[in-house]
Symmetry: C2
Subunit: 395 residues, 2 copies
């Protein structure tokens, strides 16, 4: 029995090595005044920013550049939205990691409003965004958040009263996701690892989600297949291999589509408070919790007996993929879900994913984190003690 499901719009996708060359034609179709949102210095350092500017000038396009060098706060979005309200921007282009593509998305959505983004953030403000925005093109330079395909932008206020909350509306799905794996070649190993683990987590959490549909399942499995053999090479000896980078870019894009339509689980349910209270990259939180949380979920599903079989089957599917098996039998569910957990533990070591303690998180912070955590669409219920155990194991 297939349960009813909703599947939201996805962006127009332009995917593949070298597709950045298509950006200027796209922009021209949408207008001639462009706001470029970029991150810190990496786009400049790689020479790509100069190339982009030359092309914009050649096309006689008017452009402004704003830099968002860290995870975007409400203040940053408000400042830039305010600055461009009078400038009649035709199109916003966000080129960078997940923070930048989220910042571009939020700025494109806040230019047509008149007040602060804080009013519209889920769980923070009281207003609902009306979906009005400036057309938006997302150009990711990391294979991580999948923000190029999602309808939300994560906004962070870091500190003791901090939060990571979303501005969300179906219309905020970017008009175009232009995914050029050549832009990812220069991404350093630590960021490649953290982003890759985030994307993998999103695919795995969406695939095992209680809100998964056959459509999200098909796309999640396709993304996992491409990512599984390429995360470690991309962070080690194959960082410059374009096919490796294409595989991760594909997995990341699909992770965005899947999370937007199937939701996520406890890892992202923990990433929100951890990232709000502490200054720690989102990909590191996901990467560091991935194996531990998956192990906990598998244990809890096993303990459920027959009721947990369907959830366990999902983890076993992915484990079987790692083992090179496509068809699995019920008797092998535990074997293959164990292979998955073991593989993720090896990845955590091989990729040197930081434990949480490096970012100043201690045992005394764990209760507060757990109190603010959400299960989201985790495939099995977890109690506070279970969640605490996951976090403690990664301090």
């Amino acid at each position: 029995m297939m349960l009813p499901f909703h599947f939201a719009r996805i962006p127009n996708i332009i995917f593949g090595a070298g597709t950045l060359a298509e950006l200027y034609k796209l922009i021209s179709q949408l207008g001639n005044k462009v706001l470029l949102v970029i991150g810190g210095s990496s786009l400049k350092d790689s020479g790509k920013l100069d190339e982009i500017e030359r092309n914009l000038q050649d096309k006689n396009l008017t452009y402004w550049i704003v830099s968002v060098p860290s995870e975007p706060s409400p203040e940053i979005i408000d400042t830039h939205a305010q600055e461009f309200r009078e400038k009649e921007v035709d199109v916003v282009v966000g080129i960078g990691g997940g923070s930048v593509t989220d910042a571009g998305k939020a700025i494109s959505a806040m230019i047509p409003q008149e007040d602060s983004i804080t009013n519209y953030l889920e769980g923070v403000g009281t207003k609902t965004h009306n979906g009005e925005k400036i057309p938006y093109i997302a150009v990711p330079t990391t294979s991580g958040t999948g923000s190029e395909a999602t309808k939300n932008a994560v906004i962070s206020e870091i500190g003791p009263d901090g939060f990571k909350k979303s501005l969300r509306h179906d219309n905020l799905v970017p008009d175009y996701a232009l995914v050029d794996a050549e832009l990812m070649i220069s991404c350093p190993p630590d960021i490649t690892a953290a982003c890759g683990m985030d994307a993998f987590t999103q695919l795995l959490e969406a695939y095992t989600s209680t809100a998964a549909s056959p459509m999200t399942d098909a796309l999640a499995i396709s993304g996992l297949k491409y990512m599984k053999n390429n995360i470690v090479p991309a962070c080690t000896d194959k960082a410059n291999n374009i096919n490796v980078r294409i595989a991760l870019a594909y997995g990341s894009l699909l992770s965005g589509i899947c999370l937007a339509n199937a939701g996520l689980g406890i890892i992202h349910g923990l990433a929100s408070p951890i990232g709000g209270f502490f200054d720690i990259p989102h990909g590191v939180v996901c990467g560091t919790l991935l194996a531990a949380a998956t192990k906990m979920n598998v244990e809890k599903l096993k303990a459920q007996g027959p009721k947990g079989m369907l959830g366990l089957k999902k983890y076993a599917d992915v484990g079987a993929m790692f083992a090179g098996k496509e068809a699995i039998f019920e008797k092998d569910l535990i074997k293959y879900s164990t292979i998955l957990v073991d593989t993720l533990e090896v990845w955590t070591d091989t990729l040197h994913i930081d434990p949480l303690g490096i970012y100043g998180i201690t045992a005394k912070d764990v209760n507060k984190i757990v109190d603010h955590a959400s299960l989201k669409n985790n495939p099995v219920p977890l109690g506070k003690e279970d969640i605490k155990k996951i976090v403690l194991s990664r301090l």
Copy 2:
């Protein structure tokens, strides 16, 4: 090596048994003046039209109903578009088979224009549609064309100078595809068979297309998995089983997404002239050619030797699915692609798919048909004699 690909927007999808109940809220979000495009009498006969009208009245929505009882001609679209140009329609809803959902799509796109649709049809007119349209909700009542997810509307002029050509623009993807399998329960066996074969053909042609991407592959395989065990039951002893109808509706929806993004092959390349020159349902053309054309493609790929392996592998994947195998070895490619061809031949018999002769097509028509046929993205080149052989085998 993953080649670059484009993947267009898809509609907001609302899928599942009973989802028709969500239609009225959707309409209200878009406005209060609704143009309903329906087919012949089946929606009325099933009692669903009365139910829909009651609900529209309860919501105080203004509505008009137009009926398009056959495959839409340019004249039909022009007449209805003209009629509603002054009426400030807020939303068009097309409820019916593929002809109706295409007609609704075309009317929603032609109301904002001032001239005839003929001017905008590919290969017929000289103008390019600008993408402007009235918001459009597609509600299929058959599991066939996948029109609820595509960016084109097929318009037919039947006769010696006839054609079946598309109005096409990325913006013509319906804003919403509302797919309620309960609406399909009353579809009679012959129409269920023809539509099911059309959807299956679309999935298979998109999966084996030279323009397929990993994304379309993942979705095509998911659609094929659900369709493979349900087409025959839906036309025989399980016509009233909602799970069987859901599976076909799912496959049909995904066939639309896949064809829009991967293209099709020789079967649809023949369906265009055959359907233009003769009054024959599109699903029958596809269904009757499916086994014969697949057999020809498999033979030609085999004859290519190593070069044809990749194409043959695609057919073998689907054959292996029928045989209950997920992983296949190179040595089994011929075995499993033969299983596929054999299965499709059995379906053609079991489902009593009409040969072309029933619709007045004779051997002397074949050259003209073949001259107007297109290979589209067929996985292997075919000569005129090969194409002729396919058609002759199904007279």
